[in-house]
């Protein structure tokens, strides 16, 4: 798993150096039966291509959409997904946990 995360961060670096806009989304807090621990990350480029996982597939779609905003604006964002959150329910964090995901642009000054 660690090796895989390493490849993800290397991909982020490679994308950035190749001229892509890149965002990094990282699980910073979890409650309940969250599927991926704090520190799990997803990297997204301006094509919408992504690698990694913050939830084992439940909320990646929503994170990618937000990440594209972050790439455009350069401003970091904190996202929260959980069963009590209607949006999260819609995108399907069906495992009953809550997660907070910090999304930041790579290459911001």
């Amino acid at each position: 798993m660690l090796n895989r995360d390493e490849d993800i961060l290397q991909a982020a670096e490679n994308w950035q150096k190749a001229g892509h806009g890149v965002a990094l989304a990282t699980v910073v807090e979890t409650w309940g039966s969250a599927p991926r621990p704090a520190g799990s990350s997803l990297v997204i480029n301006d094509d919408g291509t992504f690698l990694g996982s913050v939830s084992g597939g439940c909320v990646e779609g929503a994170v990618v959409t937000e990440a594209l905003d972050v790439i455009a604006s350069g401003k970091p964002k904190m996202l929260e997904f959980g069963v009590a959150d209607e949006t999260a329910w819609n995108v399907g964090l069906s495992c009953g946990g809550t997660i907070r995901v910090f999304v930041e642009k790579v290459g911001q000054s």
Binding site: E6, L9, E13, V106
Partner: protein
């Protein structure tokens, strides 16, 4: 995250050195702490704790909510001796997320039939061990029971910063081994690094049980604060 920060994180990880990125989640401010700077960092206690557990998480400090992202290298286990105990130890260690390598010059022992899916090196320790670059995130065990293999392997381990060294054998066997190693130039401090008899004392009988006791001892050494680990082992 600055590109420079990301580049440094990747470089440290490639070198198997731990690194922690601290992010103020309110505004995205970030700094990176390398292994060599952790002890003198203002957050040294928190950094040390998170690193020992290999866990990322939020902390509060000076009224700020900070996310500590811990990048710890994957722990490795080097087993010298492709013996029966190793056949139980290798899969157990892998289930605990260790990268496992087995070394034994005796090809009848170091066979893929006996160790499916485990990297095997059928060479003497002086050839097999140096390329493995045994580092601080490596646990090292010598379990052949044969001084011709175990002794040079242990001498190599003494030169490395591995977090655990264990050697199979009774107290009597270990006393003889200590004499031999000292005659070969090992210091008292070197000998003191060896956990022997190997493993926590849990009354282990079968190879699988001995494997459990070894991995329990290695886990304690990896996760417990240094002083506590010594008390447990005593």
């Amino acid at each position: 995250m600055k590109l420079e920060t990301l580049t440094q994180v990747n470089a440290e990880r490639a070198a198997r050195r731990p690194v922690i990125v601290i992010t103020d989640t309110a505004n995205g401010d970030q700094r990176l702490v390398k292994a060599k700077d952790m002890a003198t960092d203002p957050l040294a206690a928190e950094l040390s704790k998170q690193l020992r557990m290999g866990k990322s998480g939020m902390i509060e400090s000076g009224g700020k909510k900070l996310f500590l992202n811990v990048y710890a290298p994957t722990a490795r286990l080097v087993i010298v001796g492709a013996v029966h105990i190793s056949q139980a130890l290798a899969p157990l260690a892998r289930s605990l997320d260790y990268d496992v390598t087995v070394v034994d010059p005796r090809t009848a022992f170091a066979s893929p039939e006996r160790f499916p899916d485990v990297p095997l090196i059928a060479e003497w320790p002086d050839v097999a061990l140096p390329p493995l670059n045994i580092d601080h995130y490596t646990a090292f065990v010598a379990v052949t029971h044969d001084p011709k293999i175990d002794d040079p392997a242990l001498r190599h381990a003494f030169e490395c910063d591995c977090f655990y060294i264990g050697a199979l054998g009774s107290r009597k066997t270990h006393a003889k081994r200590a004499e031999r190693l000292k005659a070969q130039g090992a210091s008292d401090a070197d000998i003191a690094r060896i956990h022997a008899p190997i493993g926590l004392s849990i009354g282990a009988v079968s190879p699988s049980e001995i494997a459990v006791s070894i991995m329990a001892e290695i886990t304690a050494e990896l996760r417990l604060p240094k002083e506590t680990a010594k008390v447990q082992a005593a």
